[in-house]
């Protein structure tokens, strides 16, 4: 039984996208990747569920 929620949860998905894009505005690809890595760790800890984390990793690896 999957636990990862992939349905949209933001009331305003565009605002969430803008927050993410503005965070990387002016950054190089490498600097943005480093930011993303830190974000992944922060959000993974916030979720605090190893099953969800593993499902999220599988989805990310599967989406090309």
């Amino acid at each position: 039984m999957p636990k990862l929620i992939t349905a949209s949860q933001f009331a305003d998905p565009d605002a969430a996208y803008v927050a993410l894009v503005e965070a990387r505005r002016g950054l190089s690809v490498e600097a943005a990747a480093a930011l993303d890595t830190k974000l992944a760790l922060i959000l993974a800890n916030h979720i605090g569920d190893i099953d969800v984390l593993k499902e999220a990793i599988a989805l990310a690896k599967d989406a090309n």
Partner: protein, 533 residues
């Protein structure tokens, strides 16, 4: 902005000398710019018994296709002005948008999933056809004095009027007006004459916009591709127009050579990659860089800016011409009330605050869309591409794909609205236009918005109590009496219970509502909506 390819103009009009050229006359309202916005404002004011002089420096309409997507709210306004049904009949009706990643469909959206609206989500129709219909309508009205080949040269501002110098084939003349409406477009002369700065963001990417004539049975939908194989990693947009004309937008990137890219052989080669061997003819080509910007104020003494003269957006979302028409409708009833001495001092200022809210909303949406379509850097592109890669597998990512959020009416957070004291569900929103729906009345089956007068109106749901009369100057429609709600659709959209009472402004925006009829509260809410408190 560049617009190199010429296009035949379709409708010609002629300059006629006015008696005003022999004297210095004073008019209540002069509008500069006979585009869709200036024409809509003229017709709306004239229908409210305000005489208008409408001047334009040209003597023709019909160059290029320009605006093509007319939104439901705009069509509702056009319907009130007497041209809505005609335009819907001429246009191509659509409501479905489809998004492709590469060549694969990832998401489709329906812009009007519910039933019971007179006007469709959108029609596509060439701007010159809309202008032609509006000119025809304006010419039927004695109160619109349309003057072609009248070019604004000078604006002198006074406390209670403006003094204009206008050039004509017979030489210049002076004309005074209590109010000047500047509807003279993105390159507004009025804005330049007042020395106003027009600041914002210019996007680096260039876009090719082409109208082509082609017999094809593609669906009547808005189709948008991110990185399709036919266009080398950039985006593409396709829309159907009437008469086998199709609008195609192709992203060219920031480094595109404007002269090279406009050569017909170059454009034809790009389009062939998209369309295959299907024969087509080029109707109109142009290359744009988009701007999102607005004036800091829309009101400058007795000069009021509307449409592109006041604000500009990128085309993704069809928020340019549509917001201009909504500016015109917002201003018309207010200016009419001021001129007739019915309004308080705050009413004209509310044009600025309400339509600035709308402009900011439009600019924000259009900026977000343009950022998504044309990322600023490789790092931003990586995020965008990650959203697209996740989209086939995750709904949250599909919701983030932004190819343009299409124009809807603004819900005004306005001092003109009386805050709700009771709670209401339903799709009706305080500060928004009343949702349309099917009704029955003396004329048979009809629609709610078309049944409303152009004045303050109270809509009251019958509850068995004796009918009370609304305060003077307000029309009352009792739902359940001469007008009925056969499907219960109106009651549902307004969350109406017996006795529920709704006050509508002359532009059909909801400005107050209660669970029961109270004459004093209605009078106070109307005064508030007239800027008197």
């Amino acid at each position: 902005m560049t617009n190199a390819a010429g296009h035949k103009s379709i409708y010609h009009y002629s300059y006629r000398r006015s008696a005003d050229q022999d004297t210095v006359a004073r008019r209540p309202v002069i509008i500069v710019g006979a585009g869709p916005v200036g024409l809509a404002a003229s017709i709306d004011l004239a229908s409210r018994d305000v005489p208008v002089v409408l001047i334009d420096d040209a003597d023709r309409i019909g160059e290029g296709s320009r605006g093509i997507c007319w939104s439901k709210r705009t069509l509702e306004i056009f319907d009130r002005l007497g041209v809505g049904e005609k335009l819907v009949a001429q246009g191509v009706t659509w409501k479905i948008g489809k998004l492709f990643r590469g060549d694969d469909l990832v998401f489709s959206f329906d812009l009007l999933p519910e039933d019971g609206h007179k006007m469709p989500a959108f029609i596509n129709l060439q701007q010159f056809r809309v202008e032609k219909a509006l000119v025809d309508r304006a010419l039927e009205l004695d109160l619109v004095d349309l003057r072609w080949k009248n070019r604004l040269m000078c604006i002198e501002q006074h406390n209670d009027h403006v003094r204009l110098t206008i050039d004509t084939p017979d030489g210049p003349y002076v004309l005074e007006a209590d109010w000047l409406i500047a509807a003279d477009g993105a390159r507004s002369t009025a804005r330049e004459l007042l020395g106003l700065s027009f600041s914002g963001v210019t996007f680096e990417d260039k876009f090719l916009i082409a109208d082509i004539r082609m017999a094809a049975d593609f669906p009547t939908e808005r189709r948008f591709w991110f990185a399709p194989t036919f266009h080398n990693g950039q985006s593409a947009l396709m829309h159907r127009q009437p008469d086998n004309v199709w609008r195609i937008d192709l992203q060219l990137g920031p480094d595109a050579d404007v002269t090279e890219e406009q050569k017909p052989e170059r454009v034809t080669a790009r389009l062939k990659r998209m369309l295959g061997d299907r024969p087509f003819e080029l109707e109109w080509i142009s290359i744009y860089r988009f701007n999102c910007r607005r004036l800091e104020r829309f009101l400058h003494g007795r000069v009021v800016f509307v449409g592109d003269a006041a604000h500009q957006v990128s085309p993704f979302g069809a928020r340019g011409a549509n917001s201009g028409i909504q500016d015109a409708e917002n201003l018309a009833w207010k200016l009419a009330a001021v001129i007739k001495g019915e309004a308080g001092a705050g009413l004209i200022a509310s044009y600025e605050s309400e339509r600035m809210q709308a402009a900011d909303e439009n600019i924000a949406h259009s900026t977000r869309s343009t950022d998504f379509i044309a990322p600023h850097s490789d790092a931003e592109r990586a995020l965008r591409d990650a959203v697209l890669a996740l989209a086939p597998k995750a709904e949250f990512a599909r919701r983030m794909i932004n190819s343009g959020r299409l124009s809807v009416a603004t819900v005004y957070e306005s001092a003109l609205s009386t805050p709700d004291e009771d709670s209401f569900a339903g799709s009706a929103r305080l500060g928004a236009p009343l949702p349309d729906c099917r009704i029955q009345h003396a004329g048979g089956s009809g629609y709610m918005l078309a049944a409303l007068p152009d004045a303050f109106t109270v809509l009251m749901f019958k509850n068995g109590a004796a009918t009370q009369s609304a305060p003077e100057g307000i029309r009352t429609i009792t739902v359940g009496a001469a007008l009925t709600d056969p499907d219960g659709m109106l009651a549902q959209r307004l969350d109406a219970t017996p006795g529920a009472t709704y006050l509508l402004r002359p532009d059909h925006h909801l400005c107050a509502r209660w669970r029961s009829f109270d004459r004093d509260k209605i009078a106070a809410a109307r005064d508030r909506a007239l800027g008197k408190s």
